[in-house]
């Protein structure tokens, strides 16, 4: 029973804060609440930190394809601009 309640609480926390934070939808009050909660929950902090690190890593290394000017011209000509 205790484990079940702890799991439920963890899941609620995940939905309320971690996911919302990653979705960049936290209000400033919730951000403050999250910051306080993370101080006492290093595991959540690590999860959040790892997700953010992962994004930064991928974004900094990923090679983007360049767009050819011919493609832009072709689209503009087809839509009559």
């Amino acid at each position: 029973m205790i484990m079940s309640n702890l799991k439920k609480k963890a899941s609620e926390f995940e939905n309320k804060f971690i996911s919302s934070s990653l979705e960049k939808r936290l209000s400033s009050d919730a951000k403050q609440e999250l910051a306080e909660e993370l101080k006492t929950n290093p595991e959540y902090f690590k999860r959040l930190e790892n997700d953010e690190d992962f994004q930064l890593f991928i974004r900094s290394k990923f090679k983007r394809k360049e767009v050819s000017p011919a493609l832009v011209d072709s689209i503009k000509s087809k839509i009559g601009f």
Partner: protein, 182 residues
């Protein structure tokens, strides 16, 4: 009306062309097909521009059109239905339940030494569903909510698919790094 369309295209749609081209390339693996897909996306956007609310989320709207064009037209033409990689999908199927434990730490030195080509190639080897969420979230910075709208799947599926995709990618990068002696 034409001025309004031109304004939307110039100010909101054309600035997204690089991201669209990039996404299309990583769906098709072929620059010519990617350009066809991007062109088709812009033509559809022009045709259905009345359904777009000016000043809202042009990037997500265009990505959704591109993704649907890819599924409905490109994949049909290529006659190559997306195979579900059972091994890959099953590998981490229990991860939703232990999401807090499945960290994907890429700060280790062996990862940091990798070049962009190696990371990009590793992403390209992921199954399409996993590759797509990595591209949309980690490369293009869409929110989970936007990804759910673009892919037309529940937000919970986005979350779990992304978690699996990141762990699969980490494993691929780790294996690659080990094989190169990093």
């Amino acid at each position: 009306m034409k001025d309004k369309k031109a304004k939307i295209f110039t100010e909101e749609f054309f600035p997204q062309i690089e991201a669209l081209n990039n996404f299309a390339y990583h769906l098709t693996y072929n620059q010519s097909d990617a350009e066809d897909l991007v062109q088709e996306t812009f033509l559809k956007a022009y045709r259905f521009i009345d359904k777009y609310d000016e000043g809202t989320n042009a990037k997500a709207w265009l990505f959704r059109i591109l993704k649907n064009a890819f599924i409905n037209e490109y994949r049909k033409k290529s006659k190559a239905p997306q195979a579900v990689d059972i091994d890959q999908a099953n590998l981490l199927k229990d991860e939703d339940e232990k999401a807090f434990k499945g960290f994907h730490d890429l700060r280790e030195e062996m990862f940091q030494n990798m070049m962009g080509d190696e990371i990009t190639n590793a992403i390209n080897t992921l199954q399409e569903d996993f590759r797509t969420v990595i591209l949309l979230c980690d490369v293009e910075d869409f929110t989970y909510e936007e990804i759910a709208t673009i892919l037309e799947i529940p937000i919970g599926t986005v979350r779990s698919r992304l978690h699996r995709a990141r762990n699969l990618l980490r494993e691929k990068l780790r294996n690659y790094a080990s094989s190169k002696g990093y």
